[in-house]
């Protein structure tokens, strides 16, 4: 767990996440991010089992598949991402109440207006604090471990 560092994604990863969030609108989109030391190396879009504009539940089959792959490949569970189709990129009461993996950061994509707003948070023990979100241009080579 990187307490001080934030979340580092490539521009391509960020585009993929935003495209996924847009494609699921009006429902919330969700997914997992895997990497090392806060740097995202893989994006796992997941199905929202609740198919709701106001809530998400990562489909457990997708969660199991992603987490098994992370374990197999020695990657950390870096973050959970989800969209807020009509509200700001701020954790909701439900986001905070249901945050269960303290090692994972939370990336929220607000589609409320253009351009979209993305912010990252650490949510532990019912408390949330914003962490830096950085976007870099070049994609790291995921295969070279």
């Amino acid at each position: 767990m990187n307490d001080s560092a934030g979340l580092l994604l490539t521009a391509a990863q960020m585009r993929e996440i935003i495209a996924h969030c847009r494609s699921e609108r009006p429902n919330e989109a969700c997914g997992l991010l895997a990497g090392r030391g806060g740097r995202v190396l893989r994006v796992y879009p997941a199905r929202n089992a609740e198919r709701s504009p106001q809530s998400f539940l990562i489909h457990p089959d997708d969660q199991l598949r992603a987490m098994s792959e992370m374990e197999r490949d020695g990657l950390e569970f870096t973050a959970v991402y989800h969209s807020h189709p009509t509200s700001d990129a701020v954790p909701s009461h439900r986001d905070i109440q249901l945050a269960t993996y303290p090692e994972a950061l939370n990336l929220i994509v607000s589609l409320k207006r253009e351009p979209v707003v993305c912010r990252a948070y650490r949510i532990v023990g019912g408390h949330q604090s914003e962490v830096p979100l950085a976007i870099e241009k070049e994609a790291p080579d995921v295969r070279s471990k």
């Binding site: 969700c30 609740e50 998400f56 969660q63 989800h82 009461h93 249901l98 269960t100 993996y101 939370n106």
Partner: protein, 106 residues
């Protein structure tokens, strides 16, 4: 009938930080009881007051969700891999219905 049980980070505080356990059990329900015997308090994080699987806990035997198999009565055989997976959920606004707060949090 030894099974490999994968314990996710949110539940490791209840298993002495063990990420993986190797246990003998005939069913998933027996497996939870066996873990509870060695790690008191674990079962309450996985099962509700009625002894049913908590809403925000998923258990898989290999790649199969036990809710679509035999539930806690799902039989185990030698070499099975059991994954206990707390769900990941949240949302834009608070739902109208009360949220079943996960017992493993806080």
């Amino acid at each position: 009938m030894s099974c490999k049980v994968r314990i996710p980070a949110p539940l490791r505080r209840y298993t002495g930080d063990a990420a993986e356990l190797h246990l003998d059990a005939a069913t998933v329900g027996d497996l939870v009881k066996t873990i509870e015997a060695g790690h008191p308090g674990f079962a309450a994080k996985v099962l509700d007051d009625k002894g049913q699987l908590r809403r925000f806990i998923n258990i898989y035997v290999n790649q199969e969700d036990i809710r679509f198999a035999g539930g806690l009565g799902t039989p185990l055989k030698d070499g099975d891999e059991v994954s206990i997976i707390p769900a990941i959920a949240g949302g834009d606004t608070s739902p109208a219905a009360p949220v079943d707060s996960p017992a493993w949090g806080r």
